[in-house]
Amino acid sequence: MTAPAPLKSAIRPGLAPGVRLSFDKARDCWVVLAPERVLVPDETALEILQRCNGSRPVDEIVDELASVYNADRGEIAQDVEDMVSDLIAKRILVG
């Protein structure tokens, strides 16, 4: 019904209060711990989440991932923006 507002590339996403990214020894994977929720990020999501520290703008995260993976910047930008805006709507990230 209401499409999320386009993400501004200057926002600096970080984990919302009450959300932790931690390594789960029992399952041997990273998990996002949030109120009444446990999310298991896939490899791409984890790369993005680990860079969402509240101080780096989306633009910079995209630049870095594009260079680390030697990938098309436009594609990476789309992935990052989609994920970040979705997780902001779910109150996992704040922008």
Partner: protein, 381 residues
């Protein structure tokens, strides 16, 4: 238990544990999730025992612990337990009525490493809230508590339990949660086990009320997208598909009672014949893996028809065992919330009859349940 001794694939560890530190509570809500037979303070696990349980839970693979009750803040050792949970990497949630703590004691919990607080509300209307909780002035205390949570910087969930007395105000309860700065609101229709089952006629809304509430929740979801997460616990008695209760029996979740019994769900003690193990006598990992109560309805081997051959059997896991028991008399039957259950129409009729009649008085949740003849007469009129 036949065939369930060696479940394949290998058993995954639980994600979360609900720790009922105590059954003591200043409120007397008629839909309380505690059992009718409440545990007294002298039977509760000690601080050392709870610390050991936290260690065993983390070791087993539990990621989140919910400090619950009763009212968990009546335990003076709560800050110690929260700090311990934090130290060993557990995510901790406080499930509270919000009427016992002052700001300073809440700040101590936050400092100890509490991750999140969940505050229950009975209504937006102060009078009805006081009536449901049987506690004068309850709403004012809760609003103050919610303010402190936000001032201290903890994320807040509001839990609003929906019943015939407040069902028309669902939208206002959601708006209140937004006003209070909550990140999440749980709009939960009453689940009818234990105390709520005893009070079913006093709590049951009509089908029309439930449909309207559901529409309002959906509209609020669209309107408030990005502002607040809205979780909706569906009204089983008017449902057509069962909920995946606890995410499946013994699959993701365990519950520990004040005296240390380990249950697959908080209402499991309503099922006769189930034998529960205690953390006082066995390691938690062993209980999770092989306790008779967990094995009883784990997986799909125990299922009768229509579940056994249903393509949803690993989606809803047969629904809720306690509800099957409450309606059909057998905990191994399909959940009557399912349209395929032979008892589906019977459950719907129970709800329709209860909600059409005037609401009887509440039987309040107390250590010794009151059974006055006048109230029984009112309930059966």
């Amino acid at each position: 238990m036949s065939g369930a001794a060696n479940p394949t694939p290998p058993l995954a560890p639980p994600l979360a544990a609900l720790l009922e530190l105590t059954h003591r509570c200043p409120l007397q809500c008629p839909y309380c999730s505690n059992p009718i037979e409440l545990e007294r303070a002298k039977g509760e696990l000690s601080t050392d025992e709870w610390r050991r349980v936290l260690d065993e839970a983390a070791e087993l693979g539990v990621l989140q612990v919910h400090f619950s009750g009763g009212e968990p803040t009546v335990r003076r050792d709560l800050p110690e337990l929260v700090a311990h949970a934090r130290r060993i990497g557990l995510y901790s949630n406080l499930i509270t009525s919000g009427v016992t703590l002052d700001r300073a004691r809440l700040a101590v919990l936050a400092q100890a490493g509490l991750d999140h607080a969940q505050l229950s509300i009975q209504d937006v209307d102060h009078q009805t809230a006081a009536h449901i909780a049987n506690h004068p002035g309850v709403q004012g205390k809760k609003l103050a508590f919610a303010r402190w949570v936000r001032e201290i910087g903890l994320p807040l969930t509001i839990n609003a339990v929906v019943n015939r007395h407040n069902v028309t105000r669902v939208e206002r309860m959601i708006d209140l949660a937004v006003e209070l700065g909550a990140v999440r609101v749980e709009v939960a229709h009453v689940q009818y086990y234990g105390w709520a089952l005893r009070n079913r006629a006093a709590l049951m809304p009509t089908l029309e009320q439930v449909q309207e509430a559901t529409q309002r929740v959906e509209a609020a979801r669209a309107r408030l997208r990005g502002q607040i997460v809205i979780d909706y616990v569906v009204p089983d008695y008017y449902a057509r598909q069962p909920k995946s209760c606890m995410g499946g029996w013994g699959r993701q979740f365990l519950n520990i009672t004040p005296s240390g019994e380990v249950l697959p769900c908080h209402a499991a003690q309503t099922i006769p014949g189930l034998v529960f193990d205690s953390v006082r006598h066995k390691p938690l990992a062993e209980i999770w893996a092989s306790s008779a109560a967990f094995e009883a309805y784990r997986g799909t081997d125990w299922m009768p028809e229509p579940c056994r051959s249903c393509d949803q059997r690993e989606v809803d896991w047969g629904g809720c065992r306690c509800q099957a028991l409450a309606i059909t008399g057998s905990a191994a039957a399909a959940d009557p919330a399912c349209a395929l259950s032979p008892a589906h129409q019977e459950m719907r009729s129970l709800a329709e009859a209860a909600s059409a009649a005037p609401a009887p008085d509440f039987v309040y949740r107390r250590m010794t349940p009151q059974e006055t003849p006048a109230k029984v007469a009112a309930a059966t009129r």
